[in-house]
Symmetry: C2
Amino acid sequence: MGEKVIPDIVVGRLPIYLRALQRMHEENRKVTSSQELGERLGISAAQIRKDLSQFGEFGKQGTGYSIEYLAEQINQILKVDRVWDIAVIGAGDIGSAVARYQGFANRGLRVAMIFDSDPSKVGTQVGTFTVQDSRNVEEVIREAGIQIAMIATPSQTAQSVAEQLINAGVKAILNYAPINLTVPDEVRVQYIDPVIHLQRMTYYL
Amino acid sequence: MGEKVIPDIVVGRLPIYLRALQRMHEENRKVTSSQELGERLGISAAQIRKDLSQFGEFGKQGTGYSIEYLAEQINQILKVDRVWDIAVIGAGDIGSAVARYQGFANRGLRVAMIFDSDPSKVGTQVGTFTVQDSRNVEEVIREAGIQIAMIATPSQTAQSVAEQLINAGVKAILNYAPINLTVPDEVRVQYIDPVIHLQRMTYYL
């Protein structure tokens, strides 16, 4: 870690390994192997060993990996051994569903606030949150020191929302709006668009 | 096309190109270049040209691509020049949001039905759909000839739901449950888990 630059594609597989390890841990399993992980995930055992070796030595030849230890190590590598607050922008169907999503718990993430520009939504409840006015996004996020946001606005406003977020100090954006964002190099963007995933499969039908 | 096997990673970029082309088309643009597409998408122009060349000749050196023509061609390649019906399993927050999502229109996809196992949800309305009883999933999907499904159930039931879907003839599954599915080789699965995307970014914070 530290000095060596790890390819982003490798970093991108770590959360998948972590999710599988956490599930094994919930199943009260103690030890696993790159073979077993690979079979669960449809990734070759050699790939998994190679990926993990980029970050250190986590298992012994022949004895496999301690599930708890390896999960802890990946938690640290991904910096989810703490809890990151997330701001959600857009309180429509998707934003509301994401704000109420229970799956962030124990995975180092927590929705902390939700915003919308529609006056009829501002002040209403979404799960445990009161929808805040989008006009205050920059100020509120800067003050809270939040670095992670999810954009669930219409496509037309996603770019300008992203710019406000970045001004407020956000460094990581998960964008549900079906449009590519232009951001400075130091800001990371990931995309969720079900159509992109579905069209990748219709090709094979 | 046809005989040559195209790497799935290349197939996976086509929907992203298509989305950008459709947006340009909405902006009344006529012609684009691999350079411009690349800048919009953060992909190199050379990569885009190489990807497209796997499927045919879509532009002329120096004059660029006709946006409408290239979009039509990619629509055909991805088989979204028709409309595919999709079944949604799970009428919780995520399933309901996806069933009501407006973003499938004009992209070759349409939600056709939604199921839930909770008797208090069966018979209620989600958007324009009446929630159907999950016990009838296999029969209803087989009869409708549906090949694409989205799973938005709790993790614990996702695998058994997938097996029912596959029995019913489903060949492509978009899984929102945060668990890896085990499926036969001829079935495609894609995953949407916001935590996986977010943890890929926390690494860099």
